[in-house]
């Protein structure tokens, strides 16, 4: 729909090409960028940053969720703090992060990790807490020890919640990455767009947008596939 509207609007001349490039122009721009290798190079950089940030954020989020979900001390020390911080908009940290850490690679990864960590933490923590206590009773009647309880009951029971968090996380990872690349970077898709903006190339900006949209779509699909695979025991119910 949106694409069709875009096509009609630009080709009928309703919109000035400098305001909004036509699909054909965007296609040309994309090919130009591919030929010079700019698109691939910057895409690779962005992808690397996103993946690294995601990996770190997910790991930290899961570990924190387990510590605070499973131990009383952890709950006391961590949960209230993290619940308080969750309403803070991570994007507002970008300028501060630049002042503190400069424009190195670490800042962008740090921001992505931080942004990713919250949905992972919140959802996994809630899921760990929400594991049916009847299953915990069962585990004790069959003599599962503490570690076996976590491995056989709590982790699998919390997996659906974790995946909910992961899907939020992946979306947020791209968002935070774009913004921080636009503000402070010398490479990456966000940088490509900022540069294009400075010289008024709306077609290149549009290429960037399309690439982001595709990345978001692809990564969400991947997570869904992973989720389906990991939660086969659950999908039997949905597919009926």
């Amino acid at each position: 729909m949106l694409v069709a509207l875009w096509f009609v609007a630009t080709s009928a001349g309703w919109v000035d090409a400098r305001t909004l490039a036509s699909p054909a122009a965007v296609w040309d721009a994309a090919q130009r960028l591919l030929e010079t290798g700019q698109l691939q190079d910057n895409l690779l950089v962005s992808l690397q940053r996103a993946m690294t940030g995601l990996a770190i954020g997910v790991t930290v989020g899961v570990v924190l969720a387990l510590v605070s979900g499973l131990t009383r001390v952890g709950e006391f020390l961590l949960d209230a703090n993290l619940q308080m911080l969750r309403s803070m908009p991570i994007l507002a940290l970008v300028p501060l992060a630049i002042v503190w850490f400069g424009i190195g690679e670490e800042v962008k990864i740090l921001l992505v990790s931080l942004a990713v960590m919250f949905p992972i933490y919140l959802n996994t923590h809630a899921a760990v807490r929400g594991v049916d206590s009847r299953f915990v009773d069962l585990a004790s009647t069959v003599g599962l020890g503490r570690i076996a309880l976590v491995r056989r009951v709590i982790l699998p029971g919390a997996l659906p919640g974790f995946f909910t968090g992961l899907r939020f996380s992946v979306a947020i990872a791209w968002l935070v990455l774009v913004v921080s690349e636009q503000i402070n970077a010398s490479s990456g898709i966000g940088y490509l767009m900022t540069q294009a903006r400075n010289i008024g190339q709306t077609d290149v900006i549009m290429v960037g947008l399309v690439v982001y949209a595709l990345l978001g779509l692809i990564s969400d699909t991947l997570v869904r596939l992973l989720e389906r695979k990991a939660l086969t025991w659950q999908s039997t119910l949905q597919s009926r």
Partner: protein, 253 residues
């Protein structure tokens, strides 16, 4: 728990089956929630091989007692000796949805032989071809049979069941009763089955306890043949007596 030497029971001579070693001995068991007394001074002894049914109205404290015997609740007063690991079958089958049926049966077992024995037991309860199924795809009766296999694979000295057939339809329930009797005859655990179904109690029990307001108000030995009980006069008499004890008039005579 070490196996106890057989101690003669004070009353209740056990019927057609020889009494095994004591599986449960509780004396003066009491439990209160927030100062509200639920169980009062309960004495109870169950031997291995003995099938005891616990009847009682809703809220009389049956599940509370069962949870104590299952070692799921340690905040009681009184003395209690139960095996280290009684097997429990709950009203919901309580199969872990993320484990296949056979892995549910072997849950908590570490010996190499467990898988083979689980397969055997599943065959015994008629689930041989469902061993690799996900629990969510089982029918209610199938799930309860899997739960029964999980309870029995441990060869428990004591089997505790809290309304295990409550959610099943009448037909399935009859088949489950037969299955349960057969299995208990073979594995001979001490059994405590909680129910509020009087027919179920009279059909299955060697002994029937009635719990009224947290006290054992009736302790009856059932002296009926194991099979074909339903058609005896004693069955009807016992049924009427139990209904009266539970405060229900038996109106379909």
């Amino acid at each position: 728990m070490a196996v106890h030497p057989a101690v003669p029971l004070n009353d209740a001579p056990v019927t057609d089956r020889p009494a095994g070693p004591v599986a449960v001995r509780a004396s003066g068991l009491s439990r209160a929630f927030d100062g509200r007394g639920i169980l009062h001074d309960i004495d109870l002894e169950i031997r291995q091989g003995e099938f005891v049914v616990l009847l009682g109205r809703s809220g009389s404290g049956k599940s509370t007692l069962l949870r104590i015997l299952a070692r799921l609740d340690a905040e009681f007063d009184g003395e209690l000796r139960v095996p280290d690991r009684p097997s429990v079958a709950f009203q919901d089958s309580r199969l872990l949805p993320w484990n296949r049926v056979i892995d549910n049966v072997t849950l908590g077992l570490t010996d190499k032989d467990a898988k083979r024995r689980a397969a055997e037991l599943l065959a015994e309860v008629g689930l041989a071809d469902r061993a690799r199924a996900w629990p969510k795809t089982l029918s209610g009766g199938e799930a309860q049979r899997a739960a029964l296999a999980r309870a029995l694979i441990r060869e428990p000295e004591l089997l505790l069941m809290d309304e295990p057939f409550g959610a099943l339809d009448a037909l399935t329930r009859i088949r489950m009763h037969r299955l349960l009797r057969t299995l208990c005859e073979r594995y001979r655990p001490g059994v405590l089955l909680v129910t509020h179904d009087v027919d179920e109690a009279v059909l299955l029990a060697d002994r029937i306890l009635v719990l009224t307001d947290g006290r054992v108000s009736l302790d009856l030995t059932v002296d009926l043949p194991a099979a074909g009980r339903r058609h005896t006069q004693e069955f009807t008499d016992l049924r009427t007596r139990l209904l009266t004890e539970l405060g229900v008039e038996d109106d379909d005579q």
